[in-house]
Chain length 190, copies 2
């Protein structure tokens, strides 16, 4: 599969209701009530009433080795599961110091020190995850990570986020927004 383009559109209507928009670090993002997620050709022309549009592409893996890849693949589930009525979108931007590191240095911090994959594995398959890359597109955020889970797993998800924020890897994060979302119900209750 070639990289898939994804647009996250903040607007006054959408499939997801934004329950919380927290500026964790750095420049804020304009508050808005709803989010729409557009894939592929739909991502090219976002609605005109968008307050903001964040873009990213799925891409090849950058740090994960074969053993980790196989473990992840055997345990993770794709977004879109029927019961996943809660989601999170966490856009982050890393510092120039991070991008100036060589590949082996970034890998060492990512996994040998910060255990990014090992921590993430503990929350599978409860939390479905999709990583989008934005840096090479000239986007304000280097990464947009999308998570989905059933409402009962909101507490475990919070624990995952806090553990990752406590790692050495996160000392290289210079901008981070944390959006928590609830799927808008067709019957009117969210």
């Amino acid at each position: 599969m070639r990289p898939l383009s994804v647009a996250f559109v903040g607007a006054e209507a959408g499939t997801w209701s934004i329950e919380r928009l927290e500026v964790v670090l750095g420049e804020p993002l304009a508050p808005v009530s709803h989010l729409e997620v557009l894939d592929g050709s739909g991502a090219v022309h976002p609605p005109r009433d968008a307050v903001w549009v964040l873009r990213g592409v799925t891409s090849n893996e950058r740090y994960v080795n074969r053993v980790e890849h196989s473990e992840l693949a055997s345990r993770q589930e794709p977004p879109g599961r029927a019961g996943s009525r809660r989601a999170a979108l966490i856009p982050i931007r890393k510092s120039q110091a991070w991008w100036d590191l060589a590949q082996d240095e970034r890998r060492r911090i990512f996994e040998e020190t910060s255990h990014h994959v090992a921590i993430g594995l503990e929350y599978l398959p409860a939390v479905a995850r999709r990583l989008l890359h934005g840096r090479d597109l000239g986007e304000p955020f280097d990464f947009l990570t999308w998570f989905e889970f059933v409402p009962e797993h909101a507490v475990v998800f919070e624990e995952l986020v806090q553990r990752l924020r406590a790692t050495e890897e996160w000392t290289y994060v210079e901008r981070e927004i944390d959006l928590r979302l609830a799927r808008v119900s067709h019957t009117g209750d969210s």
Copy 2:
């Protein structure tokens, strides 16, 4: 530095005269007489009479370790040297099998087996090189590599290209074009 956007424009006029356009593997690229290289904001709106436009961005390094990075940095020179009146643009696309490999597998083939960096180092500083990434932009080519050298080094450059094409890494290349260029002289001779 954030990634820099670069556009290579094939047209009937430009700074570089295309002396040879060879389809090494896969789908061809339309023949054209000249090439223009546009950087940054200039890359956004290429001329209307362009026959084709190939786009890429400079990005962070993907495979090189700290030791290799330092060796490269101490020996390589940037494009734009006064005597560099010859250049090459080699757009390539790698197969899905390559992109499906894990990071450690790609690194092993790239350097431990194919010695991509070690071979390249032998041709520094004679050959100046700039690597652009296009895959995440949805471009037809995954990589656009630009090389510059003085006319006397055309033979050594040819040797470099042939050695890289003989590596295991190159068995994953499914499309490759090889353009050789001469800088158009202000006095009329090229």
